[in-house]
């Protein structure tokens, strides 16, 4: 979580940061879910991919390179944040169309079933995707065919400027799974242990029985994107930041004596060093040759 | 439909029934009987395949199958001749099938 926060902060300090959707504030969701996934499992995400990619274990230098358009990124600089992917590392990839990755994830799960591979496919999406037909179609087919698919709704409560309750009918978003007979759970997305525990339970269920739906209620600490203005009040933001997942978890570890002040400081140093190394790697990597614009089209 | 009277000793041709919408050609799927087989009205004589369905051709009159002109898996155009039948087993086969009366049949598309 600390790495994600520091990584994004460093990215934002650059003039060339580009069009980004940041995970800051929502780190517990990615980290908690990834803690429940095994090496052979697959993770798909929306365009809010930086946190999940780092949580899944992608190399921070290569992720930074991809975000900055360098050819050493996993997508050779051609996907950027919206399509960041490294399937061999269990990160099947991001897709920037809202709800666009859900039916794809169902297909990845179908392939696993056809090949009798006991993997779990997790697909992250936001509250913004919950009104889309693709979600309902995917839930339906996953339920009927018992696909090994975990739906992870990272509900940061706003679709750009629109509060979710204004445009979505269910009392809680995990209720969307109910009509399909898919078990749904809602947890506090700012509590990494709660997320991890629920994720583990549901991943077990998915491995054995079929699809499940995990809703994590979270809060983003930055606007929807680097191109979007903030719509929430300063008071609301302050209240949200008071529930920072990193602060909460650190406090928990300190209180239970699982982490000393020294260890915390060391972690901070390691994170800073990792981020610095990532920036250095990206900065010393080349941009793609313009001729590569025609590579890998068909 | 079924015929009420026949002259004794007639030869008939069994043609591909129709018209069937959009069907210009059929392929014989399976004969239900061989030369000498006796049919009464309602008996299944042959099944034909069209591009979308199977056509069951049933006898509309009593008759005896004398000669199959299109064996199974052979193609024939709409209205083309599939077989020769007769009222009795011993009538002589004519030199040509021209001008012969068509055997009454009922057909069902399945």
């Amino acid at each position: 979580m600390m790495l994600i926060r520091a990584f994004e902060a460093a990215l934002l300090r650059r003039e060339d940061h580009g069009f980004q959707l940041l995970t800051s504030g929502q780190e517990a969701v990615s980290v908690g879910v990834c803690a429940a996934l095994g090496e052979s499992d697959q993770l798909l995400t929306s365009g809010r991919s930086i946190g999940p990619a780092l949580a899944r274990g992608l190399d921070p230098g290569r992720v930074m390179a991809e975000l900055l358009g360098k050819s050493t990124g996993p997508n050779r600089g051609k996907g950027g944040r919206g399509h960041l992917a490294e399937p061999v590392a269990g990160f099947f990839g991001a897709h920037a169309v809202i709800a666009g990755n859900l039916t794809i994830a169902a297909g990845v799960a179908l392939a696993a079933k056809c090949r009798a591979r006991p993997i779990v496919v997790a697909c992250m999406f936001g509250d913004g995707a919950c009104g889309a037909g693709a979600l309902h179609e995917s839930l339906n087919i996953a339920a009927v065919w018992k696909l090994p698919l975990l739906f992870v709704c990272d509900n940061n409560q706003y679709s750009v400027s629109t509060p979710w309750r204004e445009v979505l009918a269910p009392a809680q978003l995990s209720d969307i799974a109910k009509p399909f007979g898919v078990p749904g759970v809602t947890v506090d997305g700012m509590d990494v242990i709660a997320v991890r525990n629920s994720a583990r339970d549901l991943v077990d269920h998915v491995r054995q029985a079929g699809p499940a739906f995990l809703e994590c209620v979270s809060f983003r600490f930055t606007p929807h994107s680097t191109s979007t203005r903030e719509t929430r009040s300063p008071a609301e933001l302050r209240a949200a930041k008071a529930r920072c997942p990193i602060t909460q978890f650190t406090a928990h570890l300190r209180q239970t004596n699982a982490l000393t002040a020294e260890q915390l400081a060391t972690l901070g140093d390691e994170v800073a060093a990792t981020v610095a190394a990532a920036l250095h790697y990206a900065d010393t990597s080349p941009f793609p040759d313009p001729a590569e614009a025609l590579d890998d089209v068909v | 439909m079924f015929s009420t009277t026949h002259e004794r000793g007639m030869i008939y041709v069994l043609a591909v029934p129709g018209p069937i919408e959009d069907v210009e050609e059929v392929r014989v799927l399976e004969w239900h009987g061989t030369a000498g087989q006796q049919y009464k009205p309602g008996d299944l004589i042959v099944e034909l395949e069209t591009h979308k369905a199977v056509v069951e051709v049933r006898a509309g009159q009593a008759g005896i199958l004398r000669r199959i002109l299109c064996e199974a898996s052979v193609w024939e155009k709409a209205g083309g001749l599939l077989a020769v039948l007769s009222d009795t087993p011993d009538e002589a086969m004519p030199a040509s099938w021209d001008g012969l009366r068509q055997c009454e049949v009922a057909f069902e598309i399945t």
Binding site: N101, T103 | R27, K52
Partner: protein, 344 residues
Amino acid sequence: MPTPPRFRILPKLLMMSSDREPQTTKVFFREAIARALREEMRRDETIIVLGQDVGAFGGSYKEFMGLHKEFGKMRVWNTPVAEAAMIGLGVGAAASGMRPIVSITYMDFLMLGLDPLVNYAAKARYKTGGQLRVPLIVKVTAGAKGQGVAHSQCLESWLMAVPGLKVVAPSTPADAYGLLKSALQEDGPIVYIDHKRLFQTPGHVPAEEYVTPLGQACVRRTGTDLTIVTHSYMTSVALDAADRLAKHGISCEIIDLRTLMPLDMPTICASVVRTRALLTVEEGQATCGVGAEVAFRVREAVGSVLVGRLGALPAPVSSNPILETACIPDAKRVISATRQLLAV
């Protein structure tokens, strides 16, 4: 899960030579499709079929008949009516090492699944820098045949403009078989377009296995006065028109595209260089149509020649028989377009 490299034993390419007539068998159009799938599904267990009514029912045109019985429910998947999910399932499965064919009954309903096809399948290889491949076939049935404005469209020209997508359209059972065999060896997404009116016309198919190469048009009729470039059902309409024109001394060369993207420009240009006149004929809209693309590419490659295009009238195609006939090109309209173009 990276897509593993494919080492396939390609079916022996049938060599047509004058001293050896290939043995052929006459089959229904639907049987050609089923045969291609059956042969390939027997040798490649990653091939799966998804679609509405493709199970025991065998598909709307019976083109999947027998597959469910032989291969079972883990290879032939009956789906609900959910084209976005159907295609997305195919895309995700293809990207994960399967080789799916998704059947969309009407080309009109492809639109419901354009997001996974265009925004993901066509772009997956590019956007992942080559990490993912999507060997997916989306099979659709196009064309007007009395079923109304939302069940009659020919939208292939839209798909030609999507980088990353290949598009094929057989006009005969032989090519329905051969193009599908080819498509099942591709490693990117391909849209396979058949046509309602093609199913009723049987044709001869070589008894031995073969492939129809992609990107290769077929000269269906040689001629000297005009090159007609067409595809799918309009091929038979153009051939009918050419027969009638021949009686009046006008000699037409008919090129059946077979693959719409990539276009076989060498075959087209070689013809137009001789005839110096091009008429494109399609059942879809002429505006931004297949013909518009062909004509412009011919202009770039060959220079200025006589050019005309014929497509449907710019109106939705009603189920009303009078109106449908008024809208869709027929032999009469091909003949009059030819006469007008050649000023004869």
